[in-house]
Symmetry: C2
Subunit: 204 residues, 2 copies
């Protein structure tokens, strides 16, 4: 019998959150001023502090949300007991590339801020305890794939997928490739990476 189920994203608090996330993700913590966030969300500067107490606290809240969302996506894939190793790799790569295409600034943002603001992200642990990890170890033991440190396999999958997005400002500039060419290249990588990982794991 809720009188007026307030649509969650038209709340003032939510508008500030959305604006902050957009700006922080694109420009980083220091470069974004509280005034920018206020302007972007169409509210007054004082309201930001009313809702979030401080810039620092607002940032941490957003960081935490991003991390949680990100890890949930990964976790679902690596812990699915129904898929085999090869499929998991393919799904991981596709998940990353799709996420990155619509959120190209995410990785540089996350990695830049991971050292400072107490990010609770636990990437390595999620992998270490996953069903994926067990499958890798088994496959190695059974001699189905070339011996590899599972941590290195993880680094390879993630690195091949997200590195171009982290470095894109170096390739995509005046003398570099265009926006369109970059997108096309990433679409190509989305198809190629699983095969490259397979090649790495193939026994000679």
């Amino acid at each position: 019998m809720a009188a007026k189920a307030k649509s969650k994203d038209s709340t003032t608090e939510e508008r500030i959150r959305v604006a902050a996330r957009k700006l922080f993700t694109r420009h980083g913590y220091d470069a974004v001023k509280t005034r920018d966030i206020a302007a972007e969300s169409g509210i007054n500067l004082a309201l930001l502090n009313y809702y979030f107490k401080s810039k620092e606290k607002l940032f941490e809240k957003i960081m935490q949300e991003n991390m949680k969302e990100f890890m949930q996506g990964i976790s679902g894939i690596v812990n699915d007991e129904q898929t085999n190793l090869e499929s998991k790799i393919k799904r991981l790569v596709e998940y990353y590339l799709d996420m990155l295409m619509s959120n190209p600034d995410m990785p540089l943002f996350v990695l830049s801020h991971a050292k400072k603001k107490g990010s609770k992200l636990n990437f390595r642990e999620t992998f270490a305890q996953s069903h994926f990890m067990k499958q890798i170890q088994e496959a190695v033991k059974e001699g189905k794939i070339a011996p590899i440190n599972p941590l290195n396999l993880m680094l390879n999958i993630v690195g091949l997928s997200i590195f171009p997005f982290i470095g894109r400002h170096i390739f995509q500039n005046e003398k570099g490739i265009t926006e369109d060419a970059f997108i096309a290249l990433m679409a190509e990588r989305k198809k190629m990476i699983p095969g490259w990982i397979d090649a790495i794991l193939r026994k000679k």
Copy 2:
């Protein structure tokens, strides 16, 4: 007949430069205050402006030095006409890993600042016009390696080499691996990556 050949790195200007480079590389432009640099170099705040005019100019000078040093290393390898494709890849990987081991914060620093401060870094172009690029295209044409977009090969080599350093704060924390384990892992990768690249290029 120079009276007292002043050892270049005991100059006040040089001390400021060294301090600035250390701090900027580790924490980024915004996070470092001119007062921090003054304290680190053991001089007064006013001297910084006396020698470098402004924080911005000091930063750009350091950025430029780093870039130049970095690109020279790469350029020498990719343009050496005496080495074959396989050797070039091995040397590139070794160059990267050695550089990163002694300078682990460099990549995140460079990539974080590439979008803002007019960095003249021209990474893609250096590769595009290199002897290395020609060798790749020839090898593909002659059917010696599997077809691959040279840009993708470059992204793979660089990504596999430097990504772990960019992401290390996510793997190397309370619940992650230790500093020593990380170093050992990187030493392992230095040996493995050339083989992985070969596998990617090998025809089925």
